[in-house]
């Protein structure tokens, strides 16, 4: 049995460092090449030595596919391609290709310049790595080599996120990357056709959650911001540069537009400006509303949102500021927070999860007095709000995707083991497909039952379908022909053609049978009697009496001779080819019963 082998190097029963090896029909594909946020040592990158100890990676991998630009999906790419050494093709979508290097560069800066690490990839390496990238369009089938082809589907999540279908012959695997089944303010929902892959590798971040509708959260968010601004307070929204930040910007921008509000909104500069530029370019990747209205106005050309300057923080009057980073642990967001924390009219909204130990986590858990560096005590009087905007599919969304794609097997990655367990059980119960959840380094083997395509000539097909009832789509149909296996291809041809192609002579197979009949008459009279008898019975067949004294029924020959010893016994020689076996045996049995007594 052919099989598909899947080995996660990262993201197996874990979140972060996504890297999954798939071998399918002799092809090896690496899905994503991410880093782990939680580690600063070797564990932050996947263990590429698992693939090969001493050989070159290029010889072992046919291609690498990156699903989207988040660092836990592409962070290890320059290390992998430049430092470990891989020269094969890397596939990603156009927006990912555009935004990925910005994030990698940012990541490099933080690690090397701020933390002072050495032995890390350089800017040049990022550039070199990007040269190996082949960009793909949505729904474009890319032929990696003669057999391996890949195709991207829209995944929502972030700009340019895609799900990939990897197909070799009849076997196929779909890798979802991260995806979102509910649309948000700037991106649409993930979509896949009924491609019925052998295996669906799905993320399962929210395997045990069914989320409330997005609208309530949006409304709450807007209401809180609006109220504060009307009171004359300032709103601080710490964000990470890409993804959610754009969603919130759009949300506020449209709200400001709708409500005719005048308070300024600022966005901290730098990275985000570049990113916004790409958002403006890749309008086709966004949701219906933005796509439809961009002719009048590109939604990412913000009218109300302006670049932030440090001096603005002291301006009087209401304002809204988006500042990085998202967890209030350093940088601009923390600076602004310190300035504004003392006024109870102000508000800070945390739009995402905060790691323990950060200022963000502290204020969310209700701490009102913070100790800053230099033994300074900061009293937090401003309001603190928490708003979760997440772009992963919830349990219902995952099930919905499985229903859309109708896979034969499901494999879960990118989630916690305990939660996966629940979802796995659900999937098996609802869809009756087997579900896998390998840990890192563990290999799952999926048996496939691939169909083998066989070419058939049109003539033969028509001839064969003409026999019997109309072909039914859902039922297999029996056909006669010769299967030729030649040059790695299969063809079904008619026997004559097969003989011709193979240069073989046709052999005739004949059955002969002697039937003894007691008949005292002359030979030709006996023949005549047999002829009349057969003619009487076999009305539908052509029965002929030939001048040489033999009878033919279709192609079956019957001859009569007198027995050499007993003249009263006539020997009937019946001869037929194997094709007429049915009629031939019927005739013999008929003749064996003897002739009717004639008067």
């Amino acid at each position: 049995m052919p099989e598909i082998k899947v080995t996660p190097l990262g993201a197996g029963q874990d979140v972060g460092r996504s890297c999954i090896l798939v071998s399918i029909a002799g092809k090896n594909v690496m899905l994503d090449c991410g880093m782990h946020m939680g580690y600063n040592d070797d564990r932050r990158f996947p263990d590429f030595s698992y693939i090969t100890q001493n050989g070159r990676l290029t010889d072992f991998l046919d291609c690498v596919i990156i699903s989207h630009f988040h660092l836990d999906h592409c962070g290890a790419l320059p290390y992998f391609s430049e430092m470990v050494g891989y020269d094969g093709p890397i596939y990603m979508t156009h927006p990912t290709k555009a935004i990925c290097p910005i994030l990698l560069e940012d990541y490099r800066k933080i690690t090397v310049d701020k933390k002072g690490e050495t032995n890390f990839f350089t800017s040049q390496m990022i550039k070199d790595c990007m040269k190996k990238v082949v960009a793909v369009h949505l729904h474009q089938t890319v032929q990696v080599d003669e057999e391996l082809e890949i195709k991207a589907y829209y995944a929502g999540h972030v700009l340019g996120a895609a799900m990939f279908q990897i197909k070799v012959g009849c076997e196929s695997v779909v890798y979802t990357g991260d995806y979102n089944m509910t649309p948000d303010r700037h991106l649409g929902a993930a979509w896949i056709d009924k491609c019925r892959p052998d295996l669906l590798i799905s993320e399962s971040t929210y395997a045990t959650t069914i989320r409330d509708s997005k609208r309530c959260r949006e409304r709450d968010f807007l209401k809180k911001v609006h109220e504060t601004v009307e009171r004359g307070g300032k709103v601080l929204i710490p964000v990470f540069a890409l993804g959610r930040a754009q969603e919130l910007c759009i949300l506020l921008e449209t709200f400001w537009e709708r409500m005719n509000l005048k308070a300024p909104i600022y966005f901290s500069t730098g990275l985000t400006e570049k990113a916004n530029h790409y958002y403006k370019l890749f309008i086709t990747w966004t949701n219906q509303k933005i796509r439809k209205t961009f002719v009048q106005r590109n939604m990412f050309e913000f009218k109300h949102i302006k670049a932030f300057d440090r001096a603005f923080a002291d301006n009087p009057g209401p304002m809204v500021v988006f500042a990085t980073p998202g967890m209030l642990h350093a940088g601009q967001s923390l600076q602004i927070f310190r300035k504004w924390a003392g006024n109870e009219k102000n508000m800070v909204i945390m739009p995402g999860y905060c790691v323990q130990g950060t200022v963000g986590h502290k204020i969310l858990s209700g701490q009102r007095k913070l100790e800053m560096e230099g033994r300074q005590i900061l009293e937090v009087k401003m309001q603190v709000e928490y708003m979760s905007f997440s772009a992963h599919a919830d349990a219902k969304g995952i099930m919905q995707l499985i229903r859309q794609a109708e896979p034969r097997n499901v494999l879960l990655v990118h989630g916690e083991a305990k939660k996966m367990e629940f979802l796995k059980q659900k999937i098996e119960q609802e869809f009756h497909v087997s579900c896998f959840m390998p840990a890192n380094g563990e290999t799952s083997t999926i048996l496939t039952n691939p169909c083998i395509p066989v070419d058939i000539s049109l003539g033969l097909l028509k001839r064969e379908t003409a026999i019997g009832p109309l072909p039914d789509a859902k039922k297999p149909k029996l056909m006669h022909g010769t299967l030729l296996m030649k040059d790695n291809s299969f063809r079904l041809v008619s026997p004559e053609q097969a003989l011709k192609e193979l240069g073989l002579a046709e052999h005739q197979l004949r059955f002969t049978c002697r039937v003894h009949i007691q008949d005292p008459r002359k030979e030709h009279e006996t023949v005549l009697r047999v002829y009349n008898h057969l003619k009487g019975i076999l009305k539908d067949y052509s029965v002929q009496h030939l001048p040489d004294g033999s009878i033919t029924v279709e192609s079956i020959l019957i001859q009569a001779t007198a027995h050499s010893e007993d003249q009263g016994t006539k020997v009937l020689l019946v001869s037929w080819t194997w094709q007429d076996e049915e009629l031939g045996s019927y005739l013999t049995s008929l003749l064996k019963k003897g002739l009717p007594q004639s008067t």
Binding site: P183, R185, T209, S213, R258, E385, Y386, Q400
Partner: protein, 969 residues
């Protein structure tokens, strides 16, 4: 041939006699040898190659064919059909056959045999499909011929086994359109056709080609539409089709399931994988709900739409559509809606400011959680969150329909509708506000919901705000805080968008009258009265203060204790507002003040209010003026007109009626003035000035009568007669005046002739009304008609003059409802001092935004006029799409007017106004003519010669400052 005839004769004996007519007609048709077919014949014979022949046929298809020659053409085409080897030419011929049989007045049964025969030897699938299409056309042209249909269906059944999808498609379509609908007919007919059509179509639900599957379902739906009761057995099959790979199949299957659920709502179906059973409509509902999360948005829209019309579904299922069963880490979580509700009911006054406020509560049994099979679960939650706004709109509509039929569901879906007020697409927001309004009598808004609703008041779109005001008019609020909140938000809205003033006042009027008890405790605060101190008197012209007063006065109407809380100035303000904004402020029974109506109240019937009474009384007085001297009449008329105009200003509901009568009296007054005795006694040339007065009066009367006829909605034929009568009088006056001023008789002849014609047509139009017009001008005129026709113009004029003076004044009966068409240009406001600058020769677009009331067919009649300072006028017809219809009788015009002019040296003002175009041919009178001639006399009516087209300005002109600059070189 003889045998053929014999067969015919035989048929005629046994079957219906009616066929004889058809036979006769066919024979007759065959005799005519039309030139057209001959031409085609020659053309086709000339054709050397198939391409040539195709060209000829294409040319031929462009020209219409007369009914008589259709059959001949068909014969020639068929002849060529048999000769032709090229499939494309045959295809074209087949399609032409279909086209020809569509010709109106042609009965295609004579070519049916031939068409069926052509099918026999045809090899090409495309041509076969086209031929079947032709047969379908023939079949639909012969609706009352069951035997023909039966035959065609048989033919179609035969070709159902064809290997091409196109042919099978057409066969199914044909069966669907022509298959026997009544069971009885099928049994009577021959054995073969007695086959169950449904069975045949149902067999093709599993066809290998998706197009054929779709066609099969469509054919089934077609049968249903034609009245065949589908069997319940196909429900199972249809359910399987929901999982089809192709969206068009799924989309059609959803429809089929819906149809079945409406046919057999109460029958019981088993649930697979368990031994329970549920009602079919519930099962179908669950299945369609499932399709709301389909992969294709076309199917999603379809499913969401159909959900709305499944009202028989049990409430238990219905409510599941709004419940997604939230969980987080396997623990049950409450939705934000539930949390809000709980907060509200516990009386706590804070919103979730803690992190982890939404922390999940109880553990969930993992086995019990059903992630996807739960059918109806959360269908609407998904639909309302959909990516495509088409789906969202469909879901909102469905919610609306279901909520209207189920109050408990209405209560539940409220939260979701409120959420939709924040949708990113305006259409969706608007739709959900309208939906909310429609279901608002079933619901009461909670405070937090009201809060969200009111937040939308700041929307910059006028449509949205107005829709929201309408919604607030009919909402029930539960607490006094709610009312206060609503008032505060509305006042905020007022300061932000002052143009919303009227709409907000109206909204507060209803809000007050709906919740008197809730307003009562708020009164001291709202009026800022103090038990000990006198507070300063608020500014009476402040719209916000007026808004507060409107709310309070309307609440006070049904709350007699409220006026005790008013301070002195409030009473004064009441009196003022009651006078100036009488449509917003109701009459109140105030202590120590005499109610205006109380003096008269004993005498009038309760349903008739005093102003109406006044109107009738003053009219009554006018109609009895015969006894007065001319001077007295004039004065009386003048006073009455003034009274009526004032009444119209005060009482908006009577405005139409008052204006209408005032206009009529005005006409009469003009007429009387013009006919003043002394004017006519002097020789004409000396009294040019007087003549000018008379002719101006005549002209004005004419104008006013057009206004009366076309500007009011609700005018009945009784009024139309009188208006026309008045117009006739004006025309007579015109004739007299011209007769006196012009020398020579020649031009008079024509005018007299024309006038008499008009009298004649008046008589014809309103013959039934004439008995009511005793003693009127026209009555007398008709008596004198024989004399008039024969006499000279000068005599005619003399007669007219005396008749005009002697004739009595006709009563104008008032219709039940009469509304004057009004228009109000909101934008441009005409207040801007900044000229609109543009380069001369180029175009500038001016946004025009206007509200129209009581305009019938505004798309056809309302025009925009632009008047330039040089007297040049431009008339613009707005596009039909520029008109919106926010409510009954109201329209809103939002359009752009393109202006252009040559360069000016300094900015100048142009005038923009709206006109109501009319055409007397289209008027109600001519509609009457058509009707009366149809029923009474069949004589042909001469086209109404007096078809006058014109326009009535019906809005105040707005001045716009513009400045075309010379182009820079």
């Amino acid at each position: 041939m003889a045998a053929h005839l014999k067969k015919r004769v035989y048929e005629e004996f046994t079957k219906v006699v009616q066929q004889q007519h058809e036979d006769l007609s066919t024979k007759k048709l065959r005799l005519t040898k039309p030139s057209k077919s001959a031409a085609l014949h020659v053309d086709l014979c000339k054709a050397t190659s198939p391409a040539d022949a195709l060209q000829y046929l294409l040319q031929f298809a462009r020209k219409p064919v007369e009914v008589e020659s259709v059959e001949g053409v068909v014969r020639i085409l068929l002849e060529h059909y048999y000769k032709e080897n090229d499939a494309s030419v045959r295809l074209k011929i087949a399609s032409l056959l279909g086209l020809l049989s569509k010709t109106a007045g042609f009965s295609p049964d004579c070519i049916m045999d031939d068409a069926i025969n052509t099918l026999q030897n045809e090899k090409s699938h495309q041509v076969l499909a086209q031929l079947l299409d032709t047969l379908l056309v023939i079949g639909t042209k012969l609706p009352e011929n069951p035997s023909v249909r039966m035959r065609l269906v048989e033919v179609a059944c035969k070709h159902l086994t064809d290997s091409s999808h196109g042919v099978r498609n057409k066969c199914l379509q044909l069966i669907g359109c022509l298959g026997p609908v009544e069971k009885g007919v099928a049994k009577e007919a021959e054995s073969q056709a007695a086959k169950d059509v449904q069975k045949i179509i149902g067999d093709h639900f599993n066809d290998q080609d998706p197009r054929v599957r779709t066609a099969a379902i469509k054919a089934m739906l077609q049968l249903h539409e034609r009245g065949l009761k589908l069997q319940q057995a196909i429900y199972g099959q249809a359910c399987k089709l929901l999982a089809d790979d192709y969206e068009q199949v799924r989309s059609a299957a959803v429809q089929l399931i819906w149809v079945l659920s409406q046919l057999y709502p109460e029958s019981i179906v088993p649930i697979p994988s368990s031994n329970e059973e549920i009602r079919l409509v519930d099962d179908a509902f669950g299945k369609i709900c499932h399709m709301v999360s389909d992969g294709s948005w076309v199917v999603r829209v379809q499913a969401a739409k159909l959900l709305g019309s499944m009202q028989q579904v049990s409430s238990h299922f219905l409510e599941q559509t709004l419940d997604k069963k939230l969980m987080s880490d396997l623990r049950r979580k409450r939705t934000a809606h539930e949390r809000a509700k709980e907060l509200y009911s516990s009386g706590e006054f804070s919103s979730g400011r803690k992190w982890g406020d939404d922390a999940p509560k109880e553990e969930i049994d993992t086995g019990a959680v059903n992630l996807i099979e739960s059918g109806a679960c959360g269908a609407f939650v998904h639909g309302l969150e959909d990516e495509m706004y088409e789906v969202r709109i469909a879901a909102v509509e469905a919610l609306c329909m279901l909520a209207q039929s189920s109050p408990s569901f209405a209560e539940k879906c409220l939260d979701f509708l409120v959420d939709m007020f924040n949708d990113e697409i305006e259409e969706v927001r608007l739709q959900s506000i309208h939906t909310m309004r429609k279901i608002s009598n079933n619901i009461t808004l909670r405070e937090d919901q009201l809060d969200t609703v009111l937040a939308v008041l700041e929307d910059s779109s006028r449509d949205i705000r107005e829709a929201l005001h309408e919604l607030l008019c009919c909402t029930n609020v539960s607490t006094k805080e709610g009312i206060h909140l609503a008032l505060v938000e509305l006042l905020k809205n007022l300061t932000k968008y002052p143009t919303d003033r009227e709409s907000i006042w109206k909204c507060l009027k209803f809000l007050g009258s709906r919740h008197p008890t809730l307003v009562l405790p708020l009164v001291p605060e709202l009026l800022s009265t103090h038990p000990f101190f006198d507070t300063p008197e608020p500014d009476m012209d402040d719209p916000a203060y007026i808004a507060v007063l409107v709310l309070i006065f309307n609440a006070a109407k049904s709350c007699p204790t409220m006026p005790a809380l008013f301070s002195d100035h409030t009473f004064r303000h009441y009196a003022y507002l009651r006078d100036s904004l009488s449509h917003l402020v109701p009459p109140l029974r105030l202590p120590g003040r005499k109610l205006v109506s109380s003096a008269v109240s004993p005498s009038i019937t309760p349903h008739e209010d005093p102003s109406q009474q006044f109107l009738h009384q003053s009219l009554e007085r006018v109609y009895n003026f015969q006894h007065l001297d001319p001077q007295g009449i004039q004065e009386l008329l003048e006073f009455t007109i003034r009274d009526l105009q004032r009444l119209g200003e005060l009482q908006s509901e009577l405005a139409g009626m008052a204006d209408f009568t005032a206009t009529y009296l005005q006409c009469q007054l003009l007429l009387i003035k013009a006919l003043q005795e002394k004017l006519w006694n002097v020789a004409a040339p000396l009294y040019l000035k007087q003549n000018a007065l008379a002719s101006a009066a005549a002209k004005q009367i004419l104008e006013e009568t057009y206004k009366m006829e076309f500007m009011y909605s609700g005018v009945e034929s009784r009024q139309v007669v009188i208006i026309h009568h008045m117009r006739l009088q004006a025309k007579a006056l015109q004739l007299i005046v011209t007769a006196r001023t012009t020398r020579g008789v020649e031009p008079l002849f024509g005018m007299c002739e024309k006038f008499l014609q008009e009298v004649d047509s008046f008589q014809r139009c309103f013959i039934s009304e004439l008995p009511h017009m005793q003693g009127s001008f026209v009555d007398k005129l008709l008596d004198l008609m024989p004399r008039l026709v024969t006499s000279k113009p000068s005599e005619v004029v003399k007669i007219l003059q005396t008749t005009l003076r002697q004739s009595t004044f006709l009563h104008l009966p008032l219709p039940e409802q009469l509304h004057r068409a009004t228009a109000n240009i909101i934008e441009p406001t005409g207040e801007s001092d900044n000229p609109l600058r543009f380069t001369s020769g180029l175009v500038v677009a001016l946004d025009v935004d206007a509200t129209l009331e009581h305009v019938q067919d505004p798309q056809g009649t309302v025009k925009v006029q632009v008047l330039y300072p040089d007297g040049q006028a431009q008339l613009i017809h707005p596009k039909p799409a520029d008109f919106r219809n926010p409510g009954p009788g109201r329209h809103r015009l939002i359009t752009q007017v393109y202006l252009s002019h040559t360069a000016w040296t300094e900015p100048c003002q142009i005038e923009v106004r709206l006109l109501l175009a009319y055409n007397s041919n289209r008027s109600k009178a001519s509609a009457r003519i058509a009707k009366s001639t149809w029923s009474e006399s069949l004589e042909a009516l001469p086209p109404s010669e007096n078809g006058i087209e014109g326009t009535i300005p019906f809005s105040k002109p707005v001045k716009v400052y513009i400045m075309p600059k010379p182009a820079r070189r």
